[in-house]
Symmetry: C2
Subunit: 271 residues, 2 copies
Amino acid sequence: MELYTTPDYSVRLDLARRLADRARELTLPLFANPGAAQNKGTVSDYDPVTQADMDAERMMRDMIRTDLPDDTIIGEEFDDHIGSGTWSWTLDPIDGTRAFLAGVPVWSTLIAVSYNDTPVIGLIDHPALAQRFVGHGGKAYREDGSGTAQIRARPCKDIRDIVLGCTEPLAMFSAGERASYEMIRRTARFSRLGLDAYGYAMLASGRMDMILEALLKPCDVRALIPIVEGAGGIITGWHGESPIHGGRVVAAGDPDILEQVYPYLRRAMDS
Amino acid sequence: MELYTTPDYSVRLDLARRLADRARELTLPLFANPGAAQNKGTVSDYDPVTQADMDAERMMRDMIRTDLPDDTIIGEEFDDHIGSGTWSWTLDPIDGTRAFLAGVPVWSTLIAVSYNDTPVIGLIDHPALAQRFVGHGGKAYREDGSGTAQIRARPCKDIRDIVLGCTEPLAMFSAGERASYEMIRRTARFSRLGLDAYGYAMLASGRMDMILEALLKPCDVRALIPIVEGAGGIITGWHGESPIHGGRVVAAGDPDILEQVYPYLRRAMDS
């Protein structure tokens, strides 16, 4: 029996969606009108992101512990809860806090469910875009007001054809990493910046071909894996290792193309 | 009698909105599903951006020439139409073509109306975000499904507090320009990339404080001016000169802060 056909799996897929629904209710009003929230605050440096982050994570943790008390919970804002079972949750209530503050709608809520430490359900919810991307059962889907559609990454065999993404090359790379990035960017068709998790969703949707980043947190990356892989893409560390611990991450819509870029990535990291 | 209270002005404000409405009908389906358009095309390198760009500009030109045959029309895709009157239109049917291709919803349609070569009406329409920003009569507004709201830039007197925007620092700056940008970025609170005209809209909305760019086309910049200025901000060239010819442009939500950054901008440009 495949894992994804079990009741244990489907109860968690259902709960992940409900967590995202509830998180939207908390985060979206603060995104649309952070000033109003700010004026209600009594502390002078009140930060609507921090507030939305903490409120949403606390709420999601409570929902998980009520329904599935044996599951481990790892989140950005609070201490890890180590459960007795084989299932774990990784939560990032607001990925893209800079986007959230600057009024840019690509920020998201990231939810991952892992079984024996392998991510098997991934969810990227974009409240301000009314779009959700979910990876489960070895496939990937976009869910929005008009329904659910399976998404697929696209083939791309030549580095000169890639649409490349990276959130902040000037802030996230060391000098050696930036040299790798620059070599690939100058060869690529074009690059697009400032996307956070939305870039991985566009890769899984066949709109972009490669995302190259560093300094990712484990909370950032786990939710992306079932979506990128479910769409037929690949996501690894810069040496081809497992990406689940974050750090330097590369994703490609076409698995074949990664063999062409690993040498670039290794060279600059050795310098 | 103020210009913006004249019938000549209001007929153009009304027409600008109708142009944007019609452009949405052409561009939005191609953004949502470029593959479908691609499969219908007979040319192998069919480009949905080029197609949407040309179709939308042709349609807007036809509408202007029908209603206001004496107005000058300057657009991205076709030759200038030099009219006999004092009014001119500047059209960019798709600003942010890379965003459009990569599935990122910040691309926009830019429409500017100038009187004696001074931009007096500016419109940024974001079809995929269902948002529109309009500057007219010395004020700026956001228009969306829930109505119209006046927007205002925010005060920010210290460079260390600014939220800085730039679409593509690695691709749009020369070495000297990039040095200026880097000095300001490292001093700023944080930066946010990949926004095209949406960054100027967020500056006018009080969510960002400074946008620093180069290589802008005249078609890119004219529509931004009445919106940034109508919100209480300022937009100039890097030497403080008029920005209407594009090139190096800096915008600030708080006019006072520009005096602090001009020395940075001049120094790197001299190197």
